[in-house]
Amino acid sequence: MADRPLLVLADERDLAARAFVAHHRSEGARLLIPSDLSRPGWCLRVGDPGASVAVAEDGAIAASTLRGVITRLAAIAPAQLPHVAEADRDYVASEMSAFLGAWLSALACPVMNRPFVPSLSGPVWRREQWVRLALGLDIPVAPVRLALRPGSPMPAPPPPGEACVRLDVIGRAVIGHGHPRLRAHARRLADGAGMALLGVFFDADDGHARFVGADRWPDLSDRSIGDAVMESLS
C-alpha cells in the first residue's frame, strides 16, 4: 500500500462510505465493516497503543501505520453480524462495540469522530442537548419542547425546513454557503461537542439565523466533503 491506510468504519451497505473509499482508494482508504471484527488478528493492549492491530480488506494493519479512521457507526448492531449464531448475536455485538470503543479511543492517529463511549462516533445527543450546548456558546437557538404522553413514541426531530441552511464542519474546513457568523457558530458547535465531522443546520442564511439541529453523518460521497476529509488528514 503506497499510502498509509485510512480506515472507514461503516455498515456494509453504507453507500456514501463505499463511494468515498472507492474514490480515495489510491490514497489508502479502506472499508472496515462489522464482520471484519471476526477475522483473526485484532489486538488491543491497554496502555500500549503501539501494539494495536486492526484487520480490514487486505489483512492485518498495525495501528501505528494508520493515517486516520472515519467512524460511520455509533455501535455494532446484532443485525450486522449474520455470520454469528443467532443466540450469541446480541452479546457479540455488545462485545464488539465495547472493544471498538476502547480500540478507537486508544489510537494516536486522527479519528473522525472520536468515540464518546458507548458511542463509537461522537456523542449521541438529542436535539435538546445540542440546543443546550448552543445556548452555552451564546448561539441563537429556536426554542425546543419534548412532550411525551402515555404510549406515545419518541418524536423524531422535525426535518430541516426549506429555508434552512446546512454547513458541514470537516476538520478545520466549513463547507456550504452561509453568513460568516453562521460558519463561526458551526465551528464552535463542532469544537464544543468534540467532533471533527458535523453537519449544522440554521433556520436562515443571514447572520441572525438560529441554530435548529445537527447531523453527525456528513455525506462522505460528496466530493467537496470527501476532499476536505482527506485534506484534514494530510
Binding site: S38, V46, S105, V141, P143, V144, L146, P150
Partner: protein, 293 residues
C-alpha cells in the same frame, strides 16, 4: 447567598431494586421529599413528561396523578433497569440537561460499558491496572498467557460475566476465539477491597474469598467494614471525579507487594451487597448526599 433546593429527590428505577429501596428508606428517615418514577409500573400507570428549553430549562413529569416540576428537583438517584421506552429516553435526556445533582448521569456511566476503555481511564487517573489484552488472535493470546502464567477472561462490555481463570482445558476453545475479540487479564493474586465514594464520603469493605470472582461465589465470602487508608482516600476521590461520577463503587486488589490495583469502577453500584451493617452507612450517606443536592 444561594438557597438550598427544597424540592424532591427524584428516584428513577424500580422500588424492588435493593439500592433504590434502601435509599428510599434512608431518605424517609431524613424527612426528605421524594418523587419515584417507578419503571415497574410504567405499563399500568401513565407517565408523562414535558421538557422545554426556551432560554432556560423547564418542564414537568407526571406519574399517575402526581406531577413534579422538574426545575424544583433537588437531586436525582438514577438506577434505570433500561432506558429503551420513550419516556425513559426523555428522562435520560433531561438528566443530561439539568443543573441538579445527578447520581449518576448516564453519560458518565458510559465508561463502564467498555471495560478496556475504562481501564485506560483508570490508568490515566494514576491507578495500576492489570495487564490487559483484548484479542481474537490465538497466537497473541498464547504469548500473553505464557508471559503471565495465569490469566483470566471476562466481558469487555457492560454485559455481566463471571471472571474466570483460563485453564489448560480451554485450549480447545481457542479456535472459536476469532469470532470476537475477547478480554484477557493477568491474574493478580491479593486481597479484594470495595471502596464506595459517595460525594465526599468514602466507605470501604475488605473481602475475604478464595473465588476468582467473589460476586458469584456460592459460599465462603466474608465482608468486613474497612477504613480506607488516608493515602488512598484522595486517590479514589480523584478517580471517581475523573470519570464524572458522584457515586462510584471501586474494585481494588492489594497485591502481595502492597500495590493497589484497580479492576473496575462501577458507576451504579449495587451497594446493598456490602451495606450489611445494621445502620446501612452507604444508604444513609447516599441519602445525605441527595438531600444536600
Amino acid at each position: 447567598m444561594s438557597l438550598r433546593p427544597s424540592g424532591p429527590v427524584l428516584l428513577w428505577g424500580s422500588p424492588l431494586d435493593l439500592p433504590i429501596a434502601a435509599v428510599c428508606t434512608a431518605l424517609s428517615r431524613l424527612g426528605t421529599p421524594m418523587f419515584l418514577v417507578d419503571q415497574t409500573r410504567a405499563g399500568e400507570t401513565s407517565i408523562e413528561i414535558d421538557i422545554e428549553i426556551d432560554g432556560v430549562l423547564g418542564g414537568w413529569i407526571q406519574v399517575g396523578d402526581q406531577r413534579c416540576a422538574l426545575d424544583l428537583v433537588r437531586s436525582v438517584y438514577a438506577r434505570p433497569q433500561d432506558a429503551a421506552r420513550a419516556v425513559d429516553e426523555a428522562l435520560a435526556c433531561w438528566l443530561e440537561l439539568t443543573p441538579a445533582l445527578v447520581v449518576n448521569r448516564l453519560s458518565a456511566m458510559g465508561s463502564n460499558s467498555s471495560k478496556p476503555y475504562q481501564s485506560a481511564l483508570i490508568a490515566k487517573a494514576g491507578f495500576a491496572v492489570p495487564d490487559t489484552l483484548v484479542t481474537n488472535d490465538p497466537d497473541a493470546l498464547r504469548a500473553f498467557w505464557r508471559r503471565h502464567g495465569s490469566i483470566v477472561y471476562k466481558s469487555s462490555s457492560g454485559v455481566r460475566s463471571i471472571v474466570s481463570r483460563l485453564a489448560a482445558d480451554d485450549a480447545d476453545r481457542l479456535a472459536r476465539l476469532a469470532t470476537c475479540p475477547t478480554q484477557f487479564q493477568e491474574y493478580v493474586p491479593g486481597t479484594d477491597y470495595r471502596v464506595h465514594v459517595i460525594g465526599d464520603e468514602i466507605h470501604g469493605h475488605a473481602i475475604d474469598s478464595e473465588a476468582d470472582d467473589y460476586r458469584y461465589a456460592e459460599s465462603g465470602v466474608r465482608l468486613q467494614p474497612w477504613r480506607v487508608p488516608d493515602e488512598l482516600r484522595p486517590r479514589v476521590r480523584r478517580l471517581a471525579a475523573s470519570l464524572g461520577l458522584v457515586m462510584a463503587g471501586i474494585d481494588l486488589r492489594r497485591s502481595a507487594e502492597g500495590d493497589w490495583i484497580c479492576f473496575e469502577v462501577n458507576p451504579s453500584p449495587g451497594f446493598t451487597f456490602y451495606d450489611a451493617e445494621d445502620d446501612e452507612p452507604i444508604a444513609r450517606a447516599t441519602a445525605r448526599l441527595l438531600t444536600k443536592g
